[in-house]
Structure formats: C-alpha cells, structure tokens
Amino acid sequence: MSAATLIEQLIEALRCLPGVGPKSARRVAFHLLERDRHGARRLAEALLSAVEGVHHCQSCRTLSESPVCALCANPQRNREQLCIVETPVDAQAIERATNYRGLYFVLMGRLSPLDGIGPSDIGLDQLEKRLTAEPIQEIILATNPTVEGEATAHYINELVRPRNIKVTRIAHGVPLGGELEYVDSSTLSHAFSGRREL
C-alpha cells in the first residue's frame, strides 16, 4: 500500500473537526483546494498560531493568550465573588446575560464518576489553592442541571464547607415565556421543589 497522498492526508486531518465525517471532509478538502486556496492558507496559519499562542489562564483555566486572561486581570472585577462553571462557553453566557462582576473558575468539564473523571481532572486542587490565596467570600455554583453537574456542585460544596465562605447555587426552573403544560416533568418538579417565598 502506498503512502497517503496529500489530498487524502488533508481529508483525514479534517475529520478531527466535531461532526465531520468522511463525506463532508472530502467536500471541504475539494472546496478549499479548488475554490479557496487563499482561505485555506489563512485557515492553516490561524490554526497554527492559535495552537501555539493560546493556553489556559493560570487563574480561571479558561482559554487565554496571556498567562492570566483579560477578565481575571481586570482590576474592576469583584475579587470576593467566584462563579464556577463547566465550560468557557458557560462563562461567556453568564457574561452576556447578567451583570455579574465577580471572577470565574472554569472546570473544563464535570465530575463524571462512571467515566473516571474525578476531582483532580477538573482542577479542584487549583481551586483550593485559590481559596487559600484570594479574598473570596462567595462561591456561585453554576454547573449544569444534570446528574453530573449536581454531583460536581455537591463535591465543591463539601470542599468549601470548612472555610468561612458562602456557597450559592444558581436556580433551575421553568424557562421564561414557557407554558407549564409544555415544560418537561423533571424541570417542572425541580422548579417546584426550589420554589421561593414572595
């Protein structure tokens, strides 16, 4: 068997993209080579620079070009609040949707006992160091409302408990504008058990 041709190598490489199977990889490869060589070169260069220049923020673990990301370095942020999220996208969603002015810690995952993903895989050693070194007064747990997110929130709560830090968890419930009739029963019962006094 002869070595793979350059085209075959490109098709194979494109398959690392999420959701791209052999068929779409072939289509993209031919498109780039036949119709957009300039775009292809830019893509290749951008990928290479990003892979070399983007790392994890030493403080919050999100993706960052500098050792500490812009948000963590911003002197305007409230250093007494720390919001814990599963992914960088979750932190961005909170930034867009709320007027939260505190800091973040990005787990880059969640505890997933059956997959062997444990506390050290989601940076909880690093979190403990921050709790010791920084003046954090409140932790806001914003993990997903899944069983794994729940297990993660519980574990962090136990980790923080001996320290004199307030721990809160974001509320989960009925989507705004949604009608109760159409909300799935689990969301509804979760919202019901988490009801608040008015």
Partner: protein
Amino acid sequence: MSPSHRVLLEPSVVLHHRPYRDTSVILELFTRSHGRVGAIARGVRTEKSKWAGALQSFRPLLISWSGRGELVNVNAVEDDGAALFLSGVALTCGFYVNELLLRLLERNDSHSDLFQIYWNTVTRLGQGDEPDITLRIFERHLLQELGYGLQLDRCADRGVPIEPDVRYSYEIERGPVAYNENSYGVSVLGSTLLSLARNELKNETARRESKRLMRAVLGHYLGDKPLHSRELMQRSSALITKAS
C-alpha cells in the same frame, strides 16, 4: 436472546450517557424486559430537542427503540413518573449502583426482578435511608440475580445452621466455614450473615463486616479494574469527615 427488532414504550433507566458526534448521545440503558441495552439517541443535544433533559440517570422512562446488535436506535422517550432527585451522598451511591450494573450485567440478558430492586434501591437512597444498609441489600440481590448468591444460613463445610455468636471464614463461591486464621476467606460473625440474610444490618458490626464481605465477593467478579464511583465515594466521605 437477540433483542427484538422494534420495542415500544419499554420501562427503562439511563445508567450512563456519553456525547456522540455533535448532537447525539450513546446510552447504556437498564430495561425491564431486555436487561442492559446499548442505544444511540440521535439529535438530542440541541436546544429544540424535547428529550434533551429527559435522558438523565435516575429518571423512570418509557423508551421505544428499533434495531438489533450492539447499539439500537432510540425512536421515542417518555417520562414514566417523577424523576428522583438524588443529591450529595445519595447521588454518589446512585452512581455506584449504576456502575455495578454496567460492569456486571451482560447486554440483553433480561433481569426483570432486578429492575424493580434497582428502583427500590434508588428510591431508598433518595429518601435518605442509610446508604450502608441500602447498598448491601442491593449488592446481595444483584449477586443472587447473577447466579452468585451468597450462602448465609448454613455452614458450607458441615451443613449445620449458622450460629450468631460463632465466627466464620466466608470463602468466595463456597460459603461460610468454621473460622480458621489461615483461611483465605473473609472473617465474619454468624450474626452478620444472619442479619444480611434478613436485610436488617441494624448494628455497626454487622454493617462493617458485611461491607468488607461484599467488597471481597464483588471484587472477585469485578476483576482488577477499580470502580471509579467507589473512589469518589471515598474522597467525598473523607471531605465530609474533614469538614465536621
């Protein structure tokens, strides 16, 4: 037994799920009539999917699927009653129960009694019943269902009834024999065996000894690979001890 081609509204629970490609998940289900079933649910990891939140562990579901072989295709999912909200220690124990089933059940072997026992177990965990009793009862039923049932009422060497105040060596795949310190068996008091047989485990000694016994017996069938959820249980309880 090969799974039938099309199954409608089968009582099921998700033991494990992992993302597959962009929008799908691969599920390990425990079902009432078909035992453990591997399944793929396509397109459920999107905002519009009405099942997105439903395919979680510890929720009674009715699942319809089609296909044969290692992975069947999920066609429909419905709730079959209210979800159990396990949290804290109960949730970690729930993961442990799921992991035991994943490791010990063969795919497509029917265990309908065990399905009911599974629900009783997670319900008890959710109610805050003592996990050390709930888990031991589950483990005993699981072993029995797999054909490895423990012998708890009679001595394996002499066939005489177990005496509560006598110490025995429990030899795996054989049963309790007269205690002797050179035996490879697990040392247990007769009262522990008898209370395990009655699903009681009222006193501390019975709980401690039956935990060690079950761990040895399950370890024999699980092999060398450690249980991930047990590690998490141990780390969590170390944290709780430290905090209190």
